[in-house]
């Protein structure tokens, strides 16, 4: 937050200040509400975001009384299984921090190991620095951050990237927020072997898995944004599908749901195309029927759609 927000004017000690007005002025409530609407479940995540928002708002009020305090470190670590919404929340985070005036531009630069670590000696530092410079004024999101550190190869350049990151996270706290993301167990190992990183990341947020009901809710939300909808039967079929799918391997929460919906759309298109009655209404075009979902191999064989086909059964 820049000091120029309230130039020169320091309020008297007993001046009442209005937290609600400040909240309204920052438009942050709007973002929080949108977060509530768009992201199903994720209780601990939302709570933490609310806390951070509150802290930054109170900090703004304190500035009015010239009560200076250290800029809070907002580097974060998102852990959770695949498809639990880490990237989505990181995007929102950039927006929220921008509204609160913590970051100046509010853009998100999303990178992985490839973007930070070079291929030969002397390549890593400029590469990492370039990414950091691009992310300044916004949020640097490092997906699968644990890949940065490869203990089995002591000549790996990842350590160099981590070193530069640490330096920037400490010295340029006002300029950028670093968000690390990855699977829980691997991130724990990563922090264990990089204690410097652990101490510089203030917020560790764990993304819980979704329940079946939440996943159904997410599916409906996804369909609504693409102008599709379930027929009542299809909804029932899809909730059964989720139950079955959750038990299978490689279940990636919302991502699996999205893929299942994409396949259902394919089948719907195929069904409409094969149907004898070619005069369709808008309702036909937007409705996914139960048969589009029940055709999944999860029902027929108890296998994933993405697995190679077996010869015996074909749909």
């Amino acid at each position: 937050m820049s000091e120029t927000d309230y130039p020169g004017v320091i309020l008297a000690d007993d001046t009442p200040v209005d937290l609600d007005a400040e909240l309204k002025a920052s438009n942050v409530q709007e973002v929080l509400d949108q977060l509530d609407r768009d992201l199903i479940g994720l209780k601990p995540v939302k709570t933490r975001i609310r806390e951070i928002a509150a802290l930054l708002l109170v900090d703004r009020l304190r500035k009015k009384f010239a009560l200076t305090s250290e800029t809070p470190t907002l580097h974060m670590n998102f852990t959770g299984n695949p498809g639990t919404g880490k990237t989505t929340v990181a995007l929102r985070m950039a927006e929220i921090l921008h509204r609160l005036g913590y970051v100046r531009e509010g853009h998100l630069v999303s990178v992985t190991r490839d973007d930070l670590v070079g291929q030969y000696i002397g390549h890593t530092a400029p590469k990492t620095k370039e990414v950091i410079k691009k992310a300044m004024g916004g949020v640097l999101f490092i997906d699968e951050a644990y890949y940065l550190y490869k203990p089995e190869n002591e000549r790996d350049y990842g350590a160099e990237a981590i070193e530069i990151l640490l330096q920037v996270m400490e010295n340029n706290r006002d300029d950028l927020v670093v968000i690390l993301a990855g699977y829980k167990d691997r991130m724990d190992k990563f922090f264990h072997s990089n204690p410097g990183m652990r101490s510089r990341v203030a917020h560790h947020i764990d993304f819980p898995d979704y329940s079946a009901a939440e996943l159904l809710h997410i599916a409906k939300l996804m369909l609504a944004t693409q102008n599709y909808r379930f027929s009542p039967d299809a909804e029932k079929a899809f909730s059964e599908y989720i139950q079955l799918r959750m038990k299978l391997e490689h279940f990636a929460n919302a991502r699996s749901v999205r893929n299942a919906l994409d396949r259902a759309r394919l089948r719907q298109a195929n069904r409409l195309f094969a149907g004898k009655n070619k005069s369709l209404t808008k309702i036909d075009l937007i409705t996914l029927e139960a048969e589009d979902i029940l055709a999944s191999r999860v029902f027929i064989e108890g296998k994933l759609d993405s697995e190679p086909e077996t010869k015996s059964v074909r749909q």
Binding site: P126, K133, M136, G137, D174, D175
Partner: protein, 144 residues
């Protein structure tokens, strides 16, 4: 150049003004970023006005959103070459322009010895004149 008190090199924008502060530099960078120009940092220890190609300090910085990154680069250049001339250059890739659109000095040596006038007698009674920086009498890297 000769009438310039204190022998300050006047090249690029703002060079007749007092040195820019970091806040002012940041504001200028912000303006350039807003126009979509790519900025880079360059340095030299040869102050001759015809010396247009300065050494690049790192690559030009494309796709930046915030001036902080460029200021960081300026500061690391200042740290490496505290007694060199350092300038910020903004490049516009707009078709038809495709060249430097902004250029200003952000660091200069503590003592600038200035330029001397060199006279050369040529054919007949013809005189040729040129300017010569006192600093360049010394080899590169030891000038300031």
């Amino acid at each position: 150049m000769m009438t310039n008190l204190g022998n300050r090199v006047t090249q690029g924008q703002f060079s007749f003004l007092p040195d820019l502060t970091d806040v002012q530099i940041t504001a200028q960078i912000k303006y350039a970023l807003g126009k979509g120009w790519a900025l880079s940092v360059e340095y030299t220890d040869d102050p001759h006005p015809r010396n247009t190609y300065w050494e690049m300090f790192g690559n030009p910085m494309f796709d930046l959103k915030d001036p902080a990154g460029i200021l960081m680069e300026i500061n690391s250049c200042r740290k490496t070459f505290p007694n060199h001339y350092i300038r910020v250059v903004a490049f516009s890739a707009v078709r038809g322009v495709e060249s430097v659109t902004m250029s200003y000095i952000v660091n200069r040596p503590k003592k600038e010895p200035g330029f001397g006038l060199v006279r050369q007698e040529t054919d007949g009674r013809t005189m040729r004149y040129t300017i010569h920086s006192y600093a360049t009498d010394k080899p590169e890297g030891e000038r300031y």
